[in-house]
């Protein structure tokens, strides 16, 4: 039961050069949100007409958290909103990560792909599981830190300016021997990164769920605009709607160039 609401921003802080965290007061959405789901943020008066989708990065005590990177006009506009600002929000949208029992949970976030991992981590911690959280960024400026982890936190930067030097997938490979098997891997990040990780997990027979992105108009299955090529269990090719059937897929079902 998604809701379309007018909600107040509680805080909107800058985390690093281009990353922000926005806390929004919307208990109605928080109550029913699950890790992997996202919300749509709406704009008005603009020449750009689409809402913008953001993963739910946290949902606790009536407060919904998103973590976003300023990459264009609408995220720039968002970064200027002050606490107290009323925004229109729709959610929760999409499917969710299916949380496996037993074994070790490895959460990998590349760049802003960290966002859904934070919520998934919260949820696993509540379930008394101690997940690994691997975060990759291009460099120190793109990296940001959180107050409270309750999980094994591992940072890497492509240029080595913070934590492990190299991309987060190589970092995972470097750590994998020390992790207790079986592994359940969850990842969100750039398509390229997902593709590399998917190939590796396939080889290693790790089970991998990925959260993917597509440009969306409606975010709820009205327009069929966000279609992506997927394989069904029977191996059939099918266009799946990322906003409704996704954004979380078993890595094996996705075509990363689809």
């Amino acid at each position: 039961m998604k809701k379309y609401l007018s909600s107040k921003i509680i805080s909107n802080q800058q985390l690093s050069k281009s990353f922000f965290q926005m806390d929004i007061n919307c208990p109605e959405i928080v109550k029913i949100s699950e890790p992997g789901q996202f919300v749509n943020i709406y704009f008005s008066g603009d020449k750009k007409i689409f809402p913008r989708p953001f993963s739910i990065a946290g949902a606790k005590n009536g407060i919904l958290k998103i973590v976003y990177k300023v990459v264009g006009s609408q995220t720039l506009q968002m970064s200027r909103w002050k606490s107290g600002h009323d925004l229109k929000i729709l959610g929760p949208l999409g499917n969710k990560f299916s949380i496996k029992t037993g074994g070790t949970h490895v959460l990998i976030g590349g760049g802003v792909g960290i966002a859904p991992m934070l919520f998934l981590k919260d949820s696993l911690v509540t379930k008394n599981s101690k997940p690994y959280l691997l975060i990759g960024a291009r460099n120190k400026d793109e990296m940001f830190l959180f107050e409270d982890y309750e999980s094994e936190l591992n940072l890497s930067t492509d240029d080595g300016s913070h934590g492990f030097r190299g991309n987060v997938v190589s970092y995972f490979q470097a750590l994998v021997d020390s992790m207790e098997k079986p592994l359940h891997v969850y990842c969100c990040g750039p398509d390229k990164m997902l593709e590399v990780l998917a190939a590796y997990c396939k080889k290693m027979k790790f089970d991998l769920q990925v959260s993917i992105e597509k440009v969306m108009a409606c975010g709820m299955g009205l327009c069929q605009g966000c279609a992506t090529k997927t394989k069904t269990e029977s191996g059939e090719i099918k266009y799946s709607l990322v906003c409704k059937d996704g954004p979380v897929y078993n890595a094996g079902d996705v075509f990363f160039n689809g």
């Binding site: 039961m1 998604k2 809701k3 379309y4 709406y42 704009f43 020449k47 750009k48 007409i49 689409f50 809402p51 729709l90 597509k214 440009v215 108009a217 409606c218 709820m220 299955g221 009205l222 327009c223 069929q224 605009g225 966000c226 279609a227 992506t228 090529k229 099918k238 266009y239 409704k244 689809g258």
Partner: protein, 304 residues
Amino acid sequence: MVDMRIKLGEKISLDNPLMTASGTFGYGNELSDVLDINNYGGIVTKSLSIEPRIGNPPPRIVETHCGMINSIGLANIGVETFLEEKAGFLSDYKGQLIVNIAGRTDDEYFAALKRLTQVDWIQGFEINVSCPNVKEGGIEFGKDPKVLGQLVKELRQLTDKFLMIKLSPNVTDIGIMAEKCQECGADAVAMINTLYGAAIDIYSRKPLINSVIGGLSGPAIKPVAIASVIKASKVIDIPIIGMGGISCGQDVVEFLLAGASAVELGTVHFFNPHAVIEILEFLKKYCDENNISAISDLVGKIDY
């Protein structure tokens, strides 16, 4: 109390002039968490074809200035699955349910209409002869008045239910097309479908729409839609269902004044899921403040 009812000829009567535009409202159930779909006087479904279609490969949509281009390629579940899966939900709907039909050939249109006209919870049909982004068929019927007339005549034979034809703005004279529909027995015309549109990524040099050219919709095209309705209303007497770029109540009044008896909400659903509610409120307030007792009094009342 303002009387919001609208009669579309003898066959259909709407509780209010707001309907959904095909392809922008799923099959009706997707938005029902967010609002009561009985707010709409009518629902027009996504275009259905006799067989299911998987539609076009991505990218299917791109945002443009005050608009968007789409090339969904009439992806749809097909007539039979529609009847099986959606009957429950849609037969509870209190307004008028119009099924939009698309085809590649005359026979595909005929087959779909023959099947659907038997279903008692379907009140009428909107025939899509104007989809700009499917390779075969569709728009071919919407370009040439003779071909269009022939199709309409034959469809008319197949159903006594409300039959409206959805016209393309991508023609030299939409008035001629509308006249043809009236002459061949259509109960109404709907206009406009999307305009041809394209966009290119200047870094990858790739078209931003799989089919290169797709359909432009949204507020950007409203002036074209209003002009089309004005032109058509000068030459036909059957009702016009107006659409194209509606984003608020003011826009709906504009369409009614231009000559539309009812309107369809399309792209607005994407940027304002509550549009129908806000528009209904506006219409009531507008009528109250301007001493209009029945919304139907606005139809065609542009003051030249």
